[in-house]
């Protein structure tokens, strides 16, 4: 019994020593999932702790350490709120795997997209009552060359 109490004290002591050894930023705690944003979300609260810039009412986040969309690293995200709703424009790291992963994920969630193929780009669009998701890639002879952007529009 006595032994166990001493063990508990020792554990607490050791725990405190390790905890206060080095104060660091809680990087994991700052990771924000952009797919969780809804029309009601207060953007500054959602991204609390993450640095941003604001210009002409558009909020921009550019630190990829904290930005994820369905687990994919987001390079930059711009968020515009207007009377019509919220427009979230995301840029990724131009990886074909990111594009494939997101296209698969969005198809799984919202069904097959409307595809609009043009000479040098392809648009994929998923639409529901409350949102639209438009994925745009540059192409050359229908083959992926660049992941341009993904624009999510949330309606009122």
């Amino acid at each position: 019994m006595n032994n166990e109490t001493n063990m508990k004290k020792l554990t607490l002591l050791l725990l405190l020593v390790s905890l206060f050894g080095y104060a660091q930023v809680d990087y994991k705690g700052l990771v924000k999932n952009i797919e969780d944003i809804t029309i009601e979300t207060d953007i500054e609260t959602h991204f609390k702790g993450v640095p941003f810039t604001e210009e002409y009412g558009e909020i921009k986040f550019s630190d990829e350490r904290f930005l994820r969309f369905y687990g994919v690293f987001v390079d930059k995200v711009k968020i515009n709120t207007s009377y019509g709703g919220k427009r979230i424009t995301m840029h990724f790291f131009d990886e074909i795997s990111d594009y494939n992963k997101l296209k698969t994920k969005l198809t799984e969630l919202y069904g097959n997209p409307d595809v609009n193929e043009r000479s040098s780009s392809t648009y994929y669009e998923w639409k529901t009552e409350s949102k639209s998701l438009m994925l745009r890639v540059s192409t050359e002879e229908s083959l992926f060359t660049e992941f341009d952007e993904l624009v999510v529009t949330l309606f009122h």
Partner: protein, 423 residues
């Protein structure tokens, strides 16, 4: 329980092992907080590394010593000049990631800037120093996927230390949850305006489209008086040509929330007859300045001209005498109230202004005063503004390849016999 203790003991052991490596980490740049401390560290390094034959005679010094580090992140090379210190980490062991994390633990998170290359830059600025970190990717993809060879370049510059209150206004500025900034917006076509707020004339014949109102508000109830006139009377209604009457619309907005406080829809100026408007609005500032509220009514003051001349003479003499304290005393109330009304806690605002005053002190060798001027009474006679007639401005400063001028709103606190600068 035993397992937990084993893990903790191991982690503490690791800490001790890394502490041991600190023993060889002799030169910690993270502890340096000024140019003089940098010099002391250089002296220590030279003394302890005589065999390295460090050249300390030139205006910069390059060091590649073992044991240099920034809060335990090894520094491969240091370039130290009179103006800055540049530290470069080695291209091993995720040094860029570690240096970034150490700086973020020390200074907090800040926005990144992408440079023209693939590098990423961070900057932390405070009263004491500016630290700029450039993250160079070698085998890493980006900040969320650092490579072990990515390295960092940290540039440190120390700011001059000012003790004069006028350079440190931010430390006195009170912070409030709600901090409205009232702006008057005018949209107009072929119109000019005379504008006064709370009986303070802030513009005459102006075609500008926005005015900061906070600086002229001293209580919750405000009144704006505006006269709109035709700007170009040669534009006339003629057959077969497009014509529209001069017109304008007005909004008072709170720029902190972008909310419209008051709105006047489009009004036309017919037949060039000026339009007079009076707008009352209520402000909810968390701070109302004393400003000229305790000022004496100067309308019947007999020696007012002499007092104006005395004030600008005092300012001119303070400038010629390089009297920093006198400059502080002349401008503190005005600059404090203006920065507080802008709810601006940035340390750079007053510092930049102070450095501008210092430039004036350094450059000016002569001043000239207007002796003939008109006095305009504002705010029920408590506030005056003067219009020089014999010179281009009230106080003109001259220096080599330089000139400057001053003209301010003045008031006289009750019980005092001297005018003070207030806006």
């Amino acid at each position: 329980m035993k397992n937990i203790i084993t893990i903790l003991v191991l982690s503490i052991y690791t800490t001790f092992v890394s502490c041991d490596s600190v023993a060889t980490n002799r030169y910690n740049f993270a502890e340096v907080k000024s140019s003089s401390q940098t010099k002391a560290l250089i002296a220590k390094m030279i003394l302890e590394n005589k065999e390295e034959d460090i050249d300390s005679t030139s205006s910069y010094i390059e060091l590649n010593l073992k044991g240099m580090h920034y809060a335990d992140v090894p520094i491969k090379s240091a370039l130290i000049t009179d103006n800055y210190t540049l530290l470069t980490t080695d291209t091993v062991n995720f040094s860029a990631k570690k240096l970034l994390e150490v700086l973020e633990a020390e200074k907090g998170l800040t926005n990144l800037n992408n440079s023209y290359s693939d590098d990423v830059e961070f900057e932390w600025k405070d009263e004491i120093e500016t630290k700029k970190l450039e993250v160079n990717f070698v085998n890493g993809k980006h900040l969320a996927a650092f490579g072990n060879k990515d390295y960092g370049k940290l540039t440190i510059t120390y700011n001059p230390v000012y003790t004069i209150p006028l350079a440190k206004i931010h430390s006195k500025v009170k912070v409030f949850d709600a901090a409205p900034k009232y702006l008057l917006y005018i949209k107009s076509y072929n119109s000019v305006f005379d504008i006064s707020i709370n009986d303070v004339r802030i513009a005459e014949d102006t075609d500008s489209d926005s005015f900061n109102l906070n600086n002229y508000i001293t209580g919750p109830n405000s009144t704006i008086k505006l006269t709109a006139k035709t700007e170009d009377k040669t534009i006339k209604k003629e057959p077969n040509t497009y014509y529209r009457d001069p017109s304008f619309s007005i909004e008072i907005i709170d720029n902190s929330t972008k909310k419209v406080v008051k709105k006047i829809e489009e009004i036309s100026i017919k037949n060039n007859i000026p339009v007079n408007l009076k707008l009352d609005f209520n402000s909810t500032l968390p701070y109302y300045p004393k400003a000229w509220t305790n000022g004496a009514d100067l309308r019947n003051s007999k020696d007012l001209k002499e007092k104006v001349i005395a004030l600008y003479t005092k300012l001119g003499n303070a400038i010629l005498a390089n009297d920093e304290q006198a400059i502080n005393d002349l401008f503190y109330q005005k600059d404090f109230e203006v920065q507080q009304l802008d709810f601006d806690t940035n340390f750079e605002t007053a510092r930049t202004k102070w450095e501008a005053y210092l430039t004036i002190l350094l450059n000016t060798y002569k001043y000239t005063l207007a002796k003939d001027f008109d006095i305009e009474f504002n705010a029920g006679g408590k506030l005056i503004y003067t219009y020089a007639k014999d010179k281009s401005d009230m106080l003109i400063l001259t220096g080599k390849n330089y000139d400057d001028s001053f003209n301010h709103f003045l008031y006289q606190p009750k019980g005092s016999n001297e005018l003070k600068i207030i806006r």
